[in-house]
Each structure stands twice: as structure tokens, then as C-alpha cells.
């Protein structure tokens, strides 16, 4: 039903509940979910295990010891838990979403379901929310496992503020997963073949993970004058590079996580030495200041999720259901 059509009657959310519940139970009981969880646990366990070992040998008192489990990059792995999540979350989200619409089409269930009293809106939104909830369940479980392992092996409870920062991290991680889930669903609406949509989603993910930082720096080099003559010029070029990199959800996620889990972070952009005057090195920001710092990143992720979902919605509304 295109926008040009007559106003339609009835709530677009009719049938949302059943679709959501079915998607959720399908995901949670599927073999694919088991594989993805296994993947996450293997990737998460390695850095967490090693950084816990390292942390047990730390003698300096650290008020944010618990957060170091997440951010510490043990030398033996060279990768922190959040780094691992930075590429495991998109993989999970793509795994959950890449065949959500086109598999219904290929199984020929789409026209039968759409001939029931529900709008396409409810089907798409129900599938998205089902996937997002599955992702959230997996991430919360993982987060609790890490927290529990920390409690057992470090032998000290996390402070309230650490838990609050950890919860903030969880929200950011879910929003980040939502972006990739929406991307995967967009491709599942566009392409009738599940293999093609999986390939496109993974391709876009690799593009942002590997190629985009290189392209961004190449663009910056192209724009930069041959000789940098002033501090202002230097800052301008640096900010252009940052702005370009921030088009990638991976960058937004990394920055938001750094801001939340490293309370020492004062800025996610450039800081000149003169701006640091008077700052106590190593001093931490209170939670509300950290939240203000990462707010643009979090909004960016949520906005990206909504924009991509809206695109999938528009394409889906215009699609013909017949084979």
C-alpha cells in the first residue's frame, strides 16, 4: 500500500504481538542461535579469561578494577572483550536478520501470512523487535557471565557506579546490534536470495570494519594542504577525519564504549595540550559527564538503526508478494 493510496483503516500494530512472540521463540530455539552463542562465548571467553588473570596480579589499587575486565587487552590475545564484541555483535545481528523476509518468501509463507488480518508494518516490526530482543537476551546473558566470572575470580564485588556504567555499555551494545540487524533486514527485503542478502550484509560489515578507516584517511590526505601552517588547520583536518570515521557504526560503538568504560576519557575528539591545562592526569569523570560525552554516539547509533529500518519498511511496502 503505497503512500499515494487512500488512507487505510485499522491499527498498523494489529498482529504485532503474535509475530513478535513467534520470531522470539523461533530464534531462541533455533540451531543458528546455538551456533552464534557458541561463537560469542568462545570469542568473549578468551580475552575475559586472560584479562582476569592479569588483573589478579595487579597491585595498584584501581577504583574501576571491574571495568578493566571489559576493556583490558591482555598481551597474550591482543584484543579486549569489547574489541571482540565490536565484531561479534554485527555478526550475530546479521546472522539473525539476513533471511527474515526473503526466507518467508522462499518458503511461500509470506502471502499466506499477509492474507491474515495484519499489515506489513506489523510483520516487519515484529520481526525486527523479535531479533533485537533475542540479541538483547544474548548480550545480557553474556554480560552476566562476565560479571559472575569477575566476582568469582577477583573476589570483590563491583561498585554501583561500575554496574551503572556496565548497564550503559549494554544499552550501547544493543543499539549497535540494532543497526546491523536493520541492515541485514533491509537486504533480506531487497534480495530474494538469502545467500545474496547474507553476502551483502557481511560485505558492508567488512567494508566498515576494514576499508572505511583507510578510505577516510585517504580522503583526509587528499584534502589536507601540502603544508600545515597553523594549529587551526591541523585541528580542522583531524576533525574531518574523525567525522568521516564516525559514519561507520563500528567507530560510534568503539567511541561510546571507550567513553563509558574508561572513566578517564575526557573527550572523544581532539584535545590540545592547552585544553588540558589544569586537568589532573588520570582523574576520572563522574558517570553523568561520561554519559553526556557519549550521548551523540548513542543517538547516532539509534538514529542509524531507525533510518535503515525505515528504508527496509519503504522497500517492503512496495514489494509485490506474488512469486
Amino acid at each position: 500500500m503505497p503512500p499515494s493510496a487512500v488512507r487505510r483503516k485499522g491499527s498498523p500494530f494489529t498482529g504485532l504481538g503474535p509475530v513478535f512472540m513467534k520470531e522470539l521463540s523461533d530464534h531462541l530455539s533455533s540451531a543458528r542461535m546455538m551456533v552464534l552463542m557458541l561463537f560469542v562465548i568462545v570469542f568473549g571467553a578468551l580475552p575475559v579469561g586472560f584479562s582476569l588473570q592479569d588483573l589478579r596480579n595487579v597491585v595498584v589499587s584501581d577504583p574501576y578494577l571491574f571495568l578493566r575486565i571489559f576493556t583490558g587487552a591482555p598481551e597474550r590475545v591482543g584484543l579486549s572483550f569489547v574489541d571482540a564484541l565490536n565484531f561479534v555483535i554485527p555478526l550475530m545481528a546479521i546472522g539473525l536478520g539476513f533471511d527474515s523476509i526473503n526466507s518467508e518468501f522462499n518458503r511461500r509463507t509470506l502471502s499466506r501470512v499477509l492474507s491474515q488480518p495484519l499489515y506489513r508494518d506489523a510483520l516487519l516490526l515484529g520481526k525486527f523487535l523479535g531479533g533485537l530482543t533475542t540479541l538483547a537476551v544474548a548480550l545480557v546473558a553474556l554480560w552476566l557471565i562476565v560479571l559472575g566470572a569477575g566476582l568469582l575470580l577477583l573476589g570483590l564485588p563491583p561498585r554501583g557506579v561500575e554496574v551503572a556504567r556496565g548497564l550503559g555499555f549494554l544499552v550501547v551494545a544493543i543499539a549497535y546490534g540494532g543497526v546491523w540487524l536493520a541492515v541485514a533486514m533491509l537486504f533480506s527485503v531487497i534480495f530474494r536470495s538469502t545467500a545474496t542478502s547474507a553476502l551483502c550484509s557481511l560485505g558492508l560489515w567488512l567494508f566498515f570494519l576494514i576499508l572505511w578507516p583507510m578510505i577516510a584517511s585517504a580522503i583526509v590526505v587528499g584534502f589536507a594542504p601540502a603544508q600545515i601552517t597553523s594549529v587551526d588547520q591541523y585541528v580542522a583536518i583531524g576533525e574531518l577525519g574523525l567525522a568521516l570515521e564516525r559514519l561507520s557504526p563500528n567507530t560510534l560503538f568503539r567511541e561510546a564504549v571507550v567513553g563509558l568504560l574508561n572513566p578517564e576519557t575526557r573527550s572523544l575528539g581532539f584535545m590540545l595540550p592547552m585544553q588540558m591545562r589544569g586537568a589532573i592526569p588520570g582523574a576520572t569523570l563522574p558517570l553523568d559527564q561520561s554519559l553526556i560525552l557519549i550521548w551523540p554516539q548513542l543517538t547516532g547509533l539509534v538514529a542509524g538503526m531507525i533510518v535503515v529500518f525505515a528504508a527496509a519498511y519503504i522497500v517492503f511496502q512496495r514489494e509485490e508478494v506474488r512469486a
Binding site: A5, V6, D26, S111, R112, V113, S115, P117, R322
Partner: protein, 317 residues
């Protein structure tokens, strides 16, 4: 008319500049079985999708049970059951679970849903496999499960797109029996099919689609009269006398055409008359000293109508 369940007036569907459905008028009465016939790409499925509000209407008007499928698709879809061409189910779920999902989408109260699902499965003889995964079902069982969904929905109209395609003769027979069962329950059935002799046996009225237009509409006999010419055709096989002359002498006989090879004073003739003159023909042959071996009423076959119509349409083009 008050008891029309579907009314289309000048219904139009454009794909680009191509007229997939070209201003058709169609009325489906309550409680009848209506067949949509025509070659692939003639616009049958598109017409069905427009009735369900699953594709946009480019022009004209359509009303299903008094609702406009463009503006009130939910009301239409709540009352109309649809069995798509080669229907699919969720293979990892059982027959019962598949229907339970649809029951939740239909907002059937939980207390009624279980009973309605079992009754529907029983009516299509799938009750004993209710808890088997649909992945193990044959094509015929899937089609029957699709009918069960319509029964469970307690739909007022059932729209079946190619319900018998790809089924073996026995499964086809069973499915057609279930379609008759729907009619007995007061459901108006709209079906599209290529299996013309099967359609003929269940349909009260048919519409012949050609290039997006309805070429012919009416009962099978009416169509036969329009396309094959009016009259009662029958087949005579006899020996012993000048059969053709004897037959031509009967009042009301319009033509006597030899059918097949003619032997010595015997053979087969195809006779067309204004009314049923078989009794007179038998009497005439016997009294003329011939021996009558066969006298068969030739039902106008839909297949003949179909083939003849499209031959003529091609010649005209």
C-alpha cells in the same frame, strides 16, 4: 445484488504500461463455487491479490463483503480465507502449531482456538498428523492444511489459487470434495485452475480470462453454447442401415457429422440437435432395421470450450 460477496467494477491493474487486469466486471454470489480460468499471465492471480488488498488497485472499484480492500484490508482479510498458489508452511513447526500461529494473528480467544484447530484438522483428515512437523507433509497434505486454515478462520469467502496443481488424481479428488464441503458450509469459493475437467465438476460458474480481460462468464453450459454453438450434442454408434439419413430425418436435428472411420453401413456420428432427441434417434434407428450400439450424451466440456475459444482468439489476432 444484495447477496454478492465480491463486486468488481472496471477493476484495473497496471504494471508500467502493461494492463495486467484490464477493467473487468465481476460478481461472485454468496455460496457459489466460481472458477477463474485462463492461461498463465492472464491476470487471475493479480485479480485475487487485489481482492485481498495485497496489491494496489490502479483503477475501478472492488468491494469484498461490503468492504474496500484498499482502505479496509484488515476487515477483508479477517473474513476471507486465502490459499495461495503452492502454499507454504513453517516446516519446523507442527500442523497444529502452524494453525495456532494463524489463530493468534486472527485474535481467536485461546479458549476456542484449540477446539477450532482440531475441528478444522479433522475436517480435512489431518487430525492424526496434527503433531507431526509440516516438513514431512506431502504436497496434498499441505494443500489440505491450507483448507484447514480457512475452515478454522470460519471465512465467508475462500479464495484458492491453483489448489489442485501438482496433485495426483486421488489427492485432487479429495481436495475437490473438501471444496464442495466448504460450499455446503455456506462459504463462497473462488478458485483458479488449469485442470479444466476438474473445475467443471465443481464450479457453478466460471470466468474465462484472456489478456487481462474476462472473455466469457457464466455456467459451463452457457459458455459452451456461446463458443461451441447452441444445442444438445450426442454421439451415435450404429450399424445396419443408412444411419446418417435416418438421423437427419429427425425433427430438431441440425447436423450429423461422421466421427471416426466409417465402415460398411456403420460407424459413429456426432449429432447436434436443438433439444434432447436421443429417444427419437434410438427409435428411428431401430425401426429402420439398424442395430444401435452406443448412444451417449456429449456434455459440453470446458476443455473444448477453452481450446476452441483460444484458437478463435488466436485466429482473430
Amino acid at each position: 445484488m444484495a447477496d454478492n460477496v465480491i463486486e468488481a467494477r472496471g477493476l484495473l491493474k497496471l504494471y508500467g504500461s502493461q494492463r495486467a487486469v484490464d477493467a473487468i466486471d465481476l460478481d461472485i454470489h454468496r455460496g457459489e463455487i466460481f472458477g477463474l480460468l485462463g492461461p498463465n499471465g492472464a491476470g487471475k492471480t493479480t485479480t485475487i491479490l487485489m481482492m485481498l488488498g495485497l496489491t494496489e488497485v490502479s483503477g475501478g472499484s472492488i468491494e469484498v463483503l461490503g468492504f474496500n480492500p484498499v482502505r479496509e484490508p484488515l476487515e477483508v482479510k479477517r473474513r476471507v480465507g486465502y490459499l495461495p498458489d503452492s502454499v507454504g508452511f513453517y516446516d519446523h513447526m507442527t500442523a497444529r502449531e502452524n494453525l495456532a500461529y494463524i489463530a493468534r494473528l486472527l485474535d481467536i480467544p485461546r479458549s476456542q482456538a484449540g477446539r477450532r484447530i482440531m475441528e478444522a484438522l479433522e475436517s480435512v483428515k489431518l487430525a492424526d498428523v496434527a503433531d507431526k512437523r509440516v516438513a514431512t507433509f506431502s504436497r496434498g497434505m499441505r494443500q489440505r492444511l491450507g483448507i484447514a486454515e480457512i475452515v478454522m478462520k470460519q471465512a465467508e469467502i475462500a479464495i484458492l489459487d491453483e489448489p489442485t496443481s501438482g496433485l495426483d488424481p486421488h489427492a485432487t479428488f479429495e481436495l475437490l470434495e473438501m471444496i464442495r464441503g466448504l460450499k455446503r458450509a455456506g462459504v463462497a469459493v473462488l478458485l483458479s485452475s488449469h485442470l479444466l475437467d476438474r473445475v467443471q465438476s465443481v464450479c457453478d460458474r466460471v470466468a474465462l480470462f484472456n489478456k487481462g480481460k474476462i472473455a466469457l462468464i457464466g455456467s459451463v453450459v452457457q459458455l459452451a453454447n456461446q463458443v461451441l454453438g447452441a444445442g444438445h450434442p450426442f454421439l451415435v454408434e450404429a450399424q445396419g442401415t443408412d444411419i446418417a439419413a435416418a438421423l437427419r430425418g429427425i425433427e430438431g436435428v441440425r447436423s450429423v457429422v461422421p466421427e471416426g472411420p466409417q465402415g460398411d453401413g456403420g460407424g459413429a456420428w456426432r449429432v447436434t440437435a436443438d433439444r434432447d432427441v436421443r429417444a427419437a434417434a434410438a427409435q428411428r434407428i431401430v425401426s429402420a432395421g439398424g442395430s444401435l450400439t452406443r448412444l451417449a450424451d456429449l456434455q459440453p466440456s470446458l476443455e473444448e470450450v477453452y481450446t476452441r475459444y483460444f484458437q478463435e482468439a488466436r485466429h482473430a489476432a
